[in-house]
Structure formats: C-alpha cells, structure tokens
Symmetry: C2
Subunit: 653 residues, 2 copies
C-alpha cells in the first residue's frame, strides 16, 4: 500500500475546494464542536469554588451560590461581548482580530500567543482529565494513563483530520447527552426541592467540616477572590465560536451568534443549577475523592441508570473538551500564518479542507505536555485559563474602542476599520460601557489568577507567552526580508545574474551513465569540462584509455584528471568547481552536471556510493552554482512500480 493510498484510507477522499461550503457546520453540530470545553467545565467549576471555601469550614460553603452567580454574571458579560465581536467581525478571528483592528499589532500578538497556549493546554488538560475519570472507575489501568491520554489525543486528531463536519457528527451525541443528563438531575432536584407532584423532598446532608483557619480582613477577601478565580474556569472556551465564525453555514454571523446564545444558556443553567443544589444539599468537596457532580447525581437521582449515564458522559465530555482546542488552534494559527506571524504552510487547508498542519502541530505539542506532566492534569491547571483571561481582557478592550469608533459615526453613516465595515448603532454607549466593564473585570481576574497561581506554574505561561510573541516577530521579520529579497520591484536587466556558458561534469569512469551526462552538458553549454579524480596512477591510465575510445563523443570536451593522494575525492572536486566558479567566472552562474545512477530498489541503492548526493549537499550553499543530476536508471523500473494516478482532475484553459 503506498503512502498516498494509506492516507486516503485514513483521512478519506480529498474534497474539492468548492465543497468548502458543504463542509460548514449547522448550529446543532457547531454547538457540539465549539461548546464542549465551556460545557464540560460544569463537571468541575462549582467544585473549584467550594474547594477554596472549605478551608473556612462547611459554613462558608453558603457563599458558593453568590460567587457562582457573580461568575455567571461575568460569563454573561463575556458572552455579550463575543456576540458583539461575532456580529462586527463576520470573518472570525476573535480576540486576535479585534485586538489587531483596534489596539495594534503587539496586543494582537499577545492575544494570539495567549490563546494558542491555552488551546494547547486545553487538549493536554482535557485528555488527562478524561483519562482520570476513566481510571477512577478502573484503577488497574492507572499505570497506562500516559498512553491512554496519548491515544485519546491521537483519536481526536484523526477525527479532526477527516473534516470538521464528520467530527461534528461524532461529537454531537455525547455533548447533548451530557447536557441532557445533568438537566434531568437538576430538574428532579428542583421538583424535589419544592416537593412538587408529591415526590420525596430533598433533605440536606448533616455534615460539618471544621474551619482549618479563620481569616479576617485582607486574607478573607483574598480567599473569596481565589474562590471566584477558581469559578472562572467556567469561562474557558467561551471565545471558541468567535474564532470559528467561518465554519458556520451562511448566514455565518447570525448562526454563530445564535449558537453562542444557546451555549451560554446551557452552560449557565448547568452552572447555576449545580451550584444551587450542591449548596442546598450541603455537599462537601473531597480532595481526590468523589466529585461534587457525582455526589449530586447520586443524592438526587440515586445510583441507577441516570447516575451511570451522567458519569459516562462526564468522562466522555471531558475528553471532548479537547476538541475545542482542535477547532480553534488550527484556525487561529491560520490567521496568524496569513498575516506572516507563523509558518505560511499553517494557512493551507488539507485534503479534507481542515487546517491539517495546525491540527498536527497541536497534537504533537499537547502530547509532549502530557508526557512532560505524566498526564497529571492537576499539575497543569495552574498554567491553564490565564491565557483565556488575558485574551478576554484584550478582546473586550478592543470592542470598547470599536464601540467608540461607532459612536463617532453619524446615523446611517458607514466606515471601514481596515478589517470590517461598521455603521452607526443607537445603543453604542451601553455596549461600550458593558465591554469596558467586562474588560476591567476580566483584567482583574487575570491579575488574580496570575498572582494566586504564579509559583505553582503560572510563571511558565507568563514566560511562554512573551516568547511566543517574540517568535511571531522573528517569523514576520523573516518573511518580510524574503519578500524584499524576491520582490520584482525595481528589477532591471543588470540585476539578473549572467549565466556562464560552461558545464563541469565530474565523472568517475567512462560508461553509459557519464556519456549521457556529457551529452546533456554539450547540449546546454559550449565549454564542457569533464573532471576526474585519480587516486592511483592506474586510475589515470584507465580513464585516459577509455576517454580516447570515444573520439567523436568527447571531441571538444576538455578532460581534467586530478591526481589526489587521499581517498575523499569530494575535496578536490569541490575545490575544482570553486576555482571555476570564483576565479574564471566570478559573479556568473556556473553549471555542474552530475551523472547519477538510479537503482531500482532501496537495497540496490545501498550497494552504490552516494557521491552524487553528497556532492549536491556540499555544493548547496554556493550562491552561483546550478547542479544538474542526469539520472541513469540501472534497470528500467517495472511498470507496476510507477505510481498509479487517477484521471487528471484539472483542465487547461
């Protein structure tokens, strides 16, 4: 099976570019694809708040609901902001595009670097968290957790390489099954809370945990802030849709905005519902023990079918959260690549119209992180969510400025910011205020997160993001200088390097291979020079004898035989070529014609010197040298070895 067949088998038939529109996502699939990360946060977000509060004792857990409501308010603010972004930037791009358009290049790159870091961590954290959920059910596979996490990454990578629509179909069911399952739990909980329909009412558990310490003043505020920061983990992935607007079926913006609203609704009902019931039931967070969501499900719905359903799809959606990274990392990379801040090839769509190289880069880097952290997502968490919060801040700051620009317009007037069209909007002041408030709050959360988690690992990200930004600038500088170097602006005849009418043909012997090379050299140049290295007097004698056997062929070709008392014949060859290139024809392009055997198989190739290949490598750095390999096929390849090709796919206009 050839590589191309294998690829076709794994990835599927290539899609024509014109099919891109058919590969777009409808709202149902889009929600599953983009929202798996924010929705999956509900598996642990409430617990993240409670596990901070518990140090003040079980009494302090009453504060869970107020803090959760504050987080929910923040989420609504951010969702509102991103809906604005989607509507104003229908080509997608999220924080990077908004910052680029309104704040300038550096903030844009900062947002880009922050988001890329976070998407990579999303994949590492989610796959590790998913594996933890599985291994807590089957402890005997715990030693293989790194392999399991890598296998999960491989699987998600494969599905994503097959195309966004196909992966959307696969991912839809678990996402809705999770949301549906938890909704049922919450609904039963509320019914039992109010004692409706004569069901048994909910009874809070009788558990008390002593306070580990009593905090007053600033320490108390700091703790509340940390609990709040813990809850903001519910925000990660919210921005995903804004980067992926172009993945939606038209009308892209409207569909994306509607999906955003649906996602916000789902995420917030789950978050507030879980927080409310957990507080009412007096559930206690247990480190390394049963999760709050599991306790909640068991207490409300019993240990039966519903419990198994919720547990199963919790594990699955934790894995699937990785998919949010797979949606956005390649897309954001393609934006950055298009603008020349990442390798250009990251903007190319692959056979199935996804940004394959971005997907592969993401898979490799996140796998390395999984290996480095030994699939322990607890250790990765301090690195996580920082990048998202920074990008929120920058994005909302950008939207604030955009709203200001909109406010400058007269009613009915439109303008172009360079990236997008804007026109006057009545409620711009309100929107601006909301965005500004969002920017300030997420900015504060960013500072809190960085400060509270700095020593535990946030410093890595604080170091990594600037390094990424520096890399973006370096890459951009390289492309700029390439463009300048290739530019035809001001190109004149004298800029063209003249081509010397000379061809050097290194030959080891006179045979059909070297004769073909000599014939070709004569065809392209008047002044042909065969050059041979004699490591022994016998070699010189034999070369001269054979050369003279073909007077017609070799007529007019100079044959230079160099005596050399070492065995590394490349040395004098390269010296000879240098001499012709630099002394005889300085500043001109000199041609070297190398006879090359092409053996039929890999094994046969091992039987021959690789002199031609090594020579080509040695000459590669010479600016004014063109090396031509003249192939001689030692045995003509069997017909079946020719790569099979289907009918041509193109038309010559």
């Amino acid at each position: 099976m050839t590589f191309s067949n294998l690829k076709r088998f794994l990835i599927g038939e290539p899609f024509p570019t014109s099919r891109e529109i058919h590969e777009r996502l409808d709202k149902v699939r889009a929600l599953a694809v983009f929202a798996s990360d924010p929705i999956s946060s509900n598996a642990y977000a409430t617990e993240a708040i409670m596990s901070v509060l518990i140090v003040l004792g079980s009494g302090a857990l009453n504060m869970t609901l107020p803090i959760a409501l504050a987080v929910a308010a923040l989420v609504l603010m951010v969702i509102f902001s991103y809906i604005q972004t989607i509507l104003h930037y229908p080509d997608g791009g999220g924080a990077y595009t908004v910052a680029k358009d309104n704040l300038g290049r550096f903030p844009a790159l900062l947002a880009g670097g922050a988001l890329l870091t976070d998407y990579i961590l999303t994949v590492s954290v989610s796959s590790s968290a998913g594996v933890r959920a599985v291994t807590s059910a089957f402890p005997e596979i715990w030693p293989y957790r790194i392999w399991l996490a890598l296998a999960a990454i491989l699987l998600i990578t494969w599905l994503n390489l097959r195309g966004v629509r196909e992966s959307g179909t696969v991912f839809a069911f678990p996402t809705y099954a999770f949301v549906g399952g938890v909704w049922v739990v919450i609904a039963i909980g509320i019914v039992r809370y109010f004692g409706l329909f004569g069901v048994s009412p909910l009874v809070p558990l009788d558990v008390t945990v002593e306070a580990e310490e009593s905090l007053v003043g600033f320490a108390f505020v700091w703790l509340i802030l940390r609990a709040f920061a813990g809850g903001t983990t519910a925000l990660t992935g919210i921005e995903a849709i804004s980067n992926g607007v172009q993945a939606f079926k038209p009308p892209e913006s409207r569909n994306a905005a509607k999906t955003m609203v649906a996602m916000g609704f789902m995420a917030m009902t789950l978050f507030v519902g879980i927080s409310f019931l957990a507080t009412y039931l007096n559930l206690m967070p247990v480190e390394e023990g049963e999760s709050i969501l599991s306790q909640l499900t068991r207490n409300i719905g019993g240990g039966g079918f519903l419990y198994i359903w919720v547990q199963t799809f919790t594990a699955l959606i934790l894995f699937l959260a990785a998919n949010t990274g797979y949606q956005d990392f390649p897309r954001l990379s393609s934006f950055l690549a298009r603008d020349g801040f990442l390798p250009r090839w990251m903007q190319n769509r692959g056979d199935r119209l996804v940004f394959s190289s971005g997907i592969v880069v993401l898979a490799v880097v996140s796998s390395l992180i999984v290996i480095a952290f030994r699939a322990n997502e607890i250790a990765m968490l301090p690195l996580y969510a920082l990048g998202v919060m920074l990008s929120f801040t920058l994005s909302q700051a950008g939207m604030t400025i955009l709203m200001g620009k909109i406010g400058q317009l007269a009613p009915g007037e439109t303008a172009n910011t360079g990236v997008t069209e804007i026109h006057y909007e009545k409620k711009w002041r309100w929107k601006q205020a909301l965005n500004a408030a969002g920017a300030v709050v997420t900015g504060i959360v960013f500072i809190i997160l960085t400060a509270t988690k700095f020593i535990e690992g946030a410093w890595i990200v604080a170091l990594l993001i600037p390094l990424l930004v520096a890399m973006f600038y370096t890459i951009n500088h390289h492309y700029d200088s390439v463009a300048a170097s290739l530019s035809t602006r001001g190109l004149s005849d004298k800029d063209l390097v003249p081509i010397a009418d000379v061809a050097i043909v290194p030959i080891a012997d006179v045979h059909r291979g070297s004769i073909r090379a000599l014939t070709y050299a004569r065809r392209i140049a008047q002044d042909v020079r065969a050059v041979s290295i004699a490591t022994h007097p016998d070699v010189r004698e034999r070369l001269e004898r054979r050369w003279n056997r073909f007077p017609k062929l070799t007529e007019g070709i100079r044959h230079d035989i160099i005596d050399y008392d070492f065995r590394d014949i490349l040395e004098p060859l390269v010296d000879y070529i240098d001499r012709v290139n630099n002394r005889e024809f300085p500043g001109q392009i000199v041609t070297v014609v190398v006879p090359e055997f092409i053996a039929e198989s890999f094994w046969a190739r091992l039987l021959h010197n690789q002199t031609a290949n090594i020579l080509r490598g040695r000459l590669r750095h010479q600016e004014h040298l063109i090396v031509i390999d003249v192939p001689y096929h030692i045995e003509s390849p069997a017909e079946e070895e020719q790569p099979e090709r289907k009918g041509t796919r193109w038309s010559l206009r």
Copy 2:
C-alpha cells in the same frame, strides 16, 4: 564545530595514500593485533575440555592432558598449513583466497561467509566475556553489562578507526603482559613440580567428584569427542594473520610467517602448560565459579601481585580478543567487495587508511548481537567456532590441491594459478599429505561441533552462512547487471537517448527566484513553458497580471495556468510533466527547471514549503526526465558559514 572538524578530532588527520607503507605493522605490534584472539583462548580452552570430562567424575580429568595434546597437534597442523598459505599467497586472503584459487567460487564464498560470521561473533563474545570478567570482580555493575559491552565495542571501534598502527601500539602491552604473567605462573609451577632450587613442591589437591553417569561404547567416544571439540576453541583466530599479510611491513610474507610461528609457540606453551599443571594439581572445573586459570594462579603463585596481574590482564585480553575480529572482518570484506560480492564501498580505505566502512558494519552488527543475547556470551558460544572450523577445512583442502599443482611442475618451472605464482618445491608430497590430514581432521571437528551444538544454537549459523552466500550471489548479480547496463561495448549513436529542446518551469509566483529559473531555462532550451496551478480564481488573475508586467523577459515563453479545485498542487504538476514527457516527446529526455529557495538556516527552512524537494522526489522514478533546481539564496549566507577549506591538496597535471 562542523562534522568534518569533529571527525578530524576523533579520528585524526587524514593520511595520504602514499603513507600506507608507513602504517604497516612491525612483528611485535602485529602479534599483539592479530594474536589476541588465539592467545586469549587460553583463558578458557583447558576448562572447556575439563568441564565435559567432569561428568565422568574427577578420575576422568586425567584425560585432559592427552586431549589437550591432541588439540595442540591439530593446532600445529593448522599453523603449518597457514604458514604455507602465507608464503604462497603473499597478497593475503586466507581461506577465501585459497578456496577461490583452488576449489572454485562456491567453496570460496562458503569460507568467506563462515569467517565473516565468526569474526562478528568474536567481537560479541569477547566483549561480553570481558564484561563478565569485570563484573565477577564488581557484581554491583552486573545490571549494566549490556551497556558496558557496547561501550567496549565502541572503544575498540574508535581505536581501530584511528589506524592499524595506532591501535597496535595500544593493544601490545596487555597482550604481552598476559602471556608473560601466565608464563611466570607455568614456570613457577614447573620449578615446584620438580622441586628445583629447594622450593616447596606442588601438592595435588585432595578433591573427588562423583561421576554423574557412566558411559560405555559409543557414548563414551562421543563424550571424548565433545571434550576434544571443546578444546578446539583454542584454534579460533589462528587464521587471522593469513588474511592480514598486507598489513605487515615488507617483506610481508616472511614477517607474517615468523609472527605466525611466534604466535603458535606462545599459544601452545600456554595451552599445554596450563593443561598439564591443572591436571597434576587435580583442579576441578566449577560452573559459574572460579575459573581454572584463576585456581591455577592462586595455587601456584598465591593470591598476591602475580594473581592480580594475571587476573587483570585476563580480563583485558578477553576484551582485546575482539580486536582480531576488527583486523580481519574489514580486510576480508574488502576482498569480497573487490570481487563484487559485498557493496563496493567496503573496499575503500578511510581517512586513516583502514577499511572504515567494514569496521563500522562490524561494530553495528556485533552490537546488535550483544543486545539480542543480552551480553551473555555463554549463550553465544554454541554459535562460535563453527565458521572458523569450516574455513580451516576449506583452506586446507585448497592447499592440498595447490600442492598437487606444484607437484605437476618440473624442477625450476614456475606457473601462475591466476592469483599467485607457484614454482616447483621439493617436499611438496609431505606438505600435501599434512594439508590433507589437516583438512580431514578439521572437517571432522566441524561435523562434531555442528552435531553437538546444533540444538543449542549452531543451527543459527548453519542457516546464516548459506544466507550470506546467497546474499553474495545476489550482490554479484546486481553488479554484473549494472556493469552490463553501463558498458560502452557496442555503444552507437542511436543508443543515445535524444534530448528534447523543451524546458518546463513550474512557478508559483513571478518573483526574482522564478525569473532566475525562467532565464536559465531560456538559456538551455528554445521551447520554454512556465506552468502554474491556480487553486482559486484570484490566483489566476494575479499570476496573469504579474506575468504581463515583464513582457521582455517572458517573451516567447508559453505560460500554462491550470485551474485546480484541490490543494495538493503536485498532482496536476506531475500530470502536466508526464503529458509533455510521454505524449509530446516520447522516448526523449525532457527537462524540468524548478526554482528553489535556499534559506540560510534550518529554522528558516521550516518556514517554507518543501514543494521543490517533494516534486523532485516524485519525478525521480521517471526514466527520461532531468530536474534542475535553480537555487535562489534568500539571504546570502554569511561569510563564516562557508565551509572552510585548507589549501588544495592536488595538482592539475
């Protein structure tokens, strides 16, 4: 540090070919280099006999000395035969050359395959045995034995790559120190045996071991044969000098023959001396326990300085025995390569005039065996010595026939066998008889070895040698067909494939790089066709616009733009080239000129598509296609990046 500097640092300055004669070995170094294997056999050969006899009980150990004397007689016979070989084949080659000259190609290849197998095993067994000697002194490093064995192989490889003279100097001292040390032990033993000079006489130990079984008839003979076969391990490596005659200073044959005699004297005095004293002292072989040589040294010389000396140099010479493999494997490979039975590059001498590629191949293969057998030389032993014995048989059979040829000559007459000059010798009948006897005895030993060790592992070698021979034939067939394919015999004008006056230039854009390629193409062909792939209508439009910007440059060049609705632009390019090659110019050579960027660094290269390289790979199999890369250096490389070269070493006559 560049690769070439690193190589120079590790291996040393290259030697000129003319210095080869200075790199030859004097007799003192030669003995150390070639004889380390046969001399080191004395560390275990006596024990190999005794450990078979012991199953009949300690009384049967009396048979050790007679068997050892029989082995010694065989050794003398073989040494005599090889001295004849050395004198008659002064160019070296041993069993392979003798068999080729007298028995034909198949026996010669059989001898070659057998010896190569054995040399590889020599290295694996010796390095593992050396490590065992070290780890029995320091048991805590036992877990690292594989690494230690590999490190030993690496060290010996390195020394051998630095040149035969240099390694000879390093290896000389341990060899002579071992021989001297054991000689002193034997001398003291004999002095004490005869009670000379009033020293305390030797007292046999009072140990008895019960017979495990009592054998009669054939079973008894079989056991004696096995004990004899065990003793023949003393023969391995004896032939080494005959392969390496050309490593000696002139007069090569005489020096080699003298060294052979000296080696035979050393090996036999050690072997017989140890066997005699061990039997007299009533020493018992203990499996996995103290070796006979160690017991002997301790009993005769006490546990002091002499004991430590002998033990130290025993360990060292066991390592050094590997060097015999390093001397002969590369040399024998070079003979086989010269005759076209192994890759030709194995006959090339490296920078230091040794057969570097043979050394590296040996190091790699023997390392793999060490890893496969987990550095357990006991498990490798059944594979060992078979090959040597087969080559002895073939070599002596060949010498018998050579002596017959010599007997045909009239006194004073000379003749040429094809490989060597022979002339009448008076005592040819005696020599022939001795060689024939040697062939018969070593043939029988070969059969005994194969039969007694077949199940324990000899079958691997019995399988491997025919496979090697088959490989030799395959390689030879390949070279024959290459030679036929390249041969200029009967070459006529119509055999030369015509070169079509066409150049295809794939271009992605119109810039300085593609303009240079187009200019070059125009220089070498009248009919130049630029071809571009448009994956989007915008691309076509831009290409056309830019193309028309340079009317003077593009005048007369056809520009084919292909619309293509997939992203893999190589497909339509290869199709286009195929079409031109196979339909428009069938049977002619078509030229493709590819513009190629050369980026200054590896990292910069990552930023660019590798389209040119991949295209070259795809087109490589086409018989009638020449691909020319026209390089465009994106930033001219800094001056210091140019590989520094010393003054030229060659002269142009």
